[in-house]
Symmetry: none
Subunit: 202 residues, 4 copies
């Protein structure tokens, strides 16, 4: 029940931060958006900063779950990779549509905020940790693919996972900026083509 309220506030925070960015988004506006009093925000979070961690976890866990449903499928590893690209692509598209509260730009900003935080405080970098998690769930796919002679065997599967994810993310970044200049479906098709080709065993 308390969790419902928290979720309500997180949703509000996502909206506000999506609109203005973390620094420019105010607790007042979040409270407003969540239909609570300014002071009530502090019943659920000790500070403006604290909510970022919840927000981050929520978003990044959602991705994790989303990917896991693919990874658990009973299909070939290369098909899984293809589906993962598709899923990422769909997520990107969805987040770029205004109706969706979780904006892509916010996710990037949160990543940088948390990264900077860890640099300053010396505390653990939660982003780094989550990325490692992502790589870890991708890794078995590449291992399986290498064993099946589908994926190239000259690259350590950890690096395959890491580079694969890098590239998909990089695509998201540029597509965000260029969605008016490049066709989405073409982008998807070509991204898949290049990535798969780069990974396939000749």
């Amino acid at each position: 029940m308390t969790e419902d309220k928290k979720q309500n506030i997180i949703d509000a925070a996502i909206q506000v931060f999506s609109k203005h960015g973390y620094e420019r988004g105010t607790v007042s506006e979040i409270a407003n958006q969540a239909n609570i009093a300014k002071g009530s925000f502090y019943h659920y979070y000790n500070s403006k900063e604290e909510i970022v961690y919840d927000l981050f976890k929520m978003v990044f866990d959602k991705f994790l779950d989303s990917w896991n449903t693919i990874i658990e499928k009973d299909i070939s590893p290369d098909k899984k990779v293809e589906l993962l690209i598709d899923r990422s692509f769909d997520d990107i598209i969805e987040m770029l549509e205004e109706k969706n509260v979780t904006s892509l730009i916010l996710i990037f900003e949160i990543m940088f905020f948390l990264y900077r935080k860890s640099l300053k405080t010396g505390k653990e970098n939660v982003i780094e940790k989550y990325f490692l998690k992502y790589y870890d769930i991708l890794k078995p796919i590449f291992e399986e693919g290498q064993e099946a002679d589908i994926f190239r065997q000259d690259i350590d599967p950890s690096y395959l996972a890491y580079l694969f994810f890098s590239m998909v993310d990089g695509f998201g970044l540029h597509f965000m900026m260029q969605k008016d200049n490049f066709d989405a479906e073409k982008s998807r098709k070509y991204l898949k083509a290049i990535l798969l080709e780069g990974l396939i065993q000749k």
Copy 2:
């Protein structure tokens, strides 16, 4: 000369923003760092925001120049692509070293700041424009490579340029977060291997 002073301020701003981020970096600290009075800042820039544009231009033009020196070389297109990856990689490494004032994280943040700005004001997205510039100088390489039967011909060269750049950028993003977990030289080698393989004509 005024341009010298401006450069002085830009350098200071890069240092300050690198350290704290744009929002948290203050005009006071920039003035301090530049050894001028706070008020003097406003002789050169009308606002804190204005300097971001100069800063952005400076950094992104430097990249443009850096890449152009490669593109103008008299070597094969695939070699050019390889050198471009190397150059990007070297830049990333350099920026991640503390001595360099231009921090990688700042560049990403500036991109997001300007992107958000354009979203809010509806004004032109300078990032989008610059990225298009980047794609444009890459495009001839891919065209040349396609004509020479080196690069795959099933993908529009504009898209090749755009996806190539996306992937290199994505790599920078993840490498920044993971530099303690993945070996730099291995990363470079594998990145090249995957990207080139993905682009090459079979």
Copy 3:
């Protein structure tokens, strides 16, 4: 019984206020310390301020009782004065030890709080009243001592009581600040010596 609960809350309040001072001590922390809910505090006290009066009374009545046991003894007036100094001294020492919840500093702060309150509201100064009570129970000792030719007769016994108490209090104030610089037992001895000498009839 309600009084038990109240006492429980007062004890908690003393702990909290001792630690942080009245202004900085919060109702939340008091409730916490008393193992009740924040809201329950208001079943027993109408406001944070109200508890100060109870707290004050409790502490100051304890002093009154403590002194009365001495005054009622069947000993000479000068001996009584000596014992009163000793008792005060012991109380001061005890309050300065950390284990004791009633800190000396808190007592002074409460005095000032209530004094200021009376200045602002024009309502009766409870501190003034209690001090008068203290003087009043001391007065008979001095009267008795004057009649017995022990204490000096050139000073009104009311003033003797008032000045005696002032000086003992002043000692507490300075000893609190200087407990690391002046030896307790020497202080006690000398305080007695000076005070008694100053009061004795030559």
Copy 4:
């Protein structure tokens, strides 16, 4: 010149804190009283707390100076002590008159504030230090008096200074509360009588 402005702010702060106490006195009201903008306060002081130290120093140095003028006089030590009591008494009276900005209660409160601060932070107790200073300038008087066979010789002169000051302060504390119940001049006379008698060599 900056010092003038600072003094202006200190004066305002004394007024405001005298009226409401330190915790309840607001930076806004200080700024108002000083006829400056709220933000300007922070050009001169980094925090509300910081000004307390200046304020404390100003007040306590003034006392120091005031006492020194007596100590430097070419008169007998017992006469000096008498004058010191008179001076303290006059200061107390003056501070209790409303027209004077430096209120007595504020001085006590500052003492407690700083004492508590030192307890919490473990940093040096400036009050303790200043009191030691006070004792130190009194000490030579008592030494001189002991040598001249005027003051009692059974008490260490440091303790004489410390106890003398304690008692005068204690008197201030009680007189503040009781000024309506006890005559000022009688109080002065009796205080002197007791204190001097207590100190004199028989």
